[in-house]
Symmetry: C2
Subunit: 195 residues, 2 copies
């Protein structure tokens, strides 16, 4: 008897994605059951399969959406001829974007190993494209003498790791404002590349 009428499929889909994102980030993909996700959304476990083929596809869709979002936001930034300006723009963009999406960032790094090979390759390719963008800025700056660094690609890895690390310790309401954190990181980035 008593089944929920009047529920909107329009809102159930995003609610499933939000619940899965939060739970996967908090406990890990393998540790979260479809039942937990359903409970969080307020539906029965079987209902989830109206919206996703299976658990793996749900994970992949979350990661793919995150990476597409990231690359689209990067592409939407205004072009910068000056390597130093481009690096500052990238630094601040990366910090802001990642900080605002801690759960998705965490999952997209952490759950790579839980993707089936084909899905893994597709996500990895997008991640490489993002890294290549920064490496390109650094290589240009190195060529023009704006930067002084031994290896542009390695520096790109190092800087991205440094910047992404902010998601592991920064908490809203702490002693430092996000703007201040941005300035401090930009100061270190700038120096690290010998600008």
């Amino acid at each position: 008897m008593a089944r929920k009428k009047n529920s909107s499929a329009e809102t159930t889909r995003p609610r499933i994605r939000e619940a899965a994102l939060r739970l996967f980030a908090r406990h890990g993909y393998a540790a979260v059951s479809m039942r937990q996700i359903a409970t969080e959304v307020g539906v029965q476990a079987g209902t989830l399969y109206l919206y996703t083929a299976d658990k793996q596809t749900l994970l992949f869709d979350l990661m793919q959406a995150h990476m597409q979002d990231l690359l689209a936001a990067l592409a939407a930034l205004p072009a910068q001829d000056d390597p130093l300006a481009a690096l500052e723009q990238f630094t601040r963009f990366h910090l802001r974007h990642h900080r605002a999406r801690q759960d998705a960032v965490f999952i997209s790094y952490m759950e790579l190993r839980n993707l089936e090979p084909e899905n893994f390759e597709r996500i990895e390719a997008m991640r490489r494209a993002y890294e290549a963008h920064l490496a390109g800025i650094l290589a240009r700056g190195k060529a023009t003498g704006t930067f002084d660094l031994p290896d542009a690609k390695l520096a790109a890895y190092a800087l991205i790791a440094m910047l992404t690390g902010v998601t592991t310790w920064y908490r809203e309401g702490g002693p430092l404002s996000l703007a201040r954190v941005e300035d401090i990181y930009w100061d270190m980035v700038q120096k690290a590349v010998g600008a």
Copy 2:
């Protein structure tokens, strides 16, 4: 009395730890079954419980051993009065130590969320002690004017994230030797703190 022990018992314990470390790092704690670990070792699942109380304890023991190993190795380094020398020593030590223990490093960061609260606190305390060591070097260097940085604690977070990142991309047999990678990172670290 001194009844002679079965010879394989001496080797089974470390073999369990090695198998668990490798499998947890590769697939994640929650995704690995006790049966898989047992198969890897070449024993039956029930045999594992001769060596560990349960799966959670096995994870905690691996992480605790890793952190104790890290702190002991850090404490064994020769004292350095000069902040710059201390920073270089720390940088090279961190890279070498983490690079040689990729699986344990990965687990100790990734599986924190799968620890029960009490176990989590104990591991976190050791991680904070390690961070505090670097923050101390930076604060001393800032006080003496050797370094130019806005925030020693934040810089410690940033540098550790940057250095630990090497474990995600460095592969033996790649184009760069570990010594070369060390030199490149040390170059960036040095510049980043305004030395």
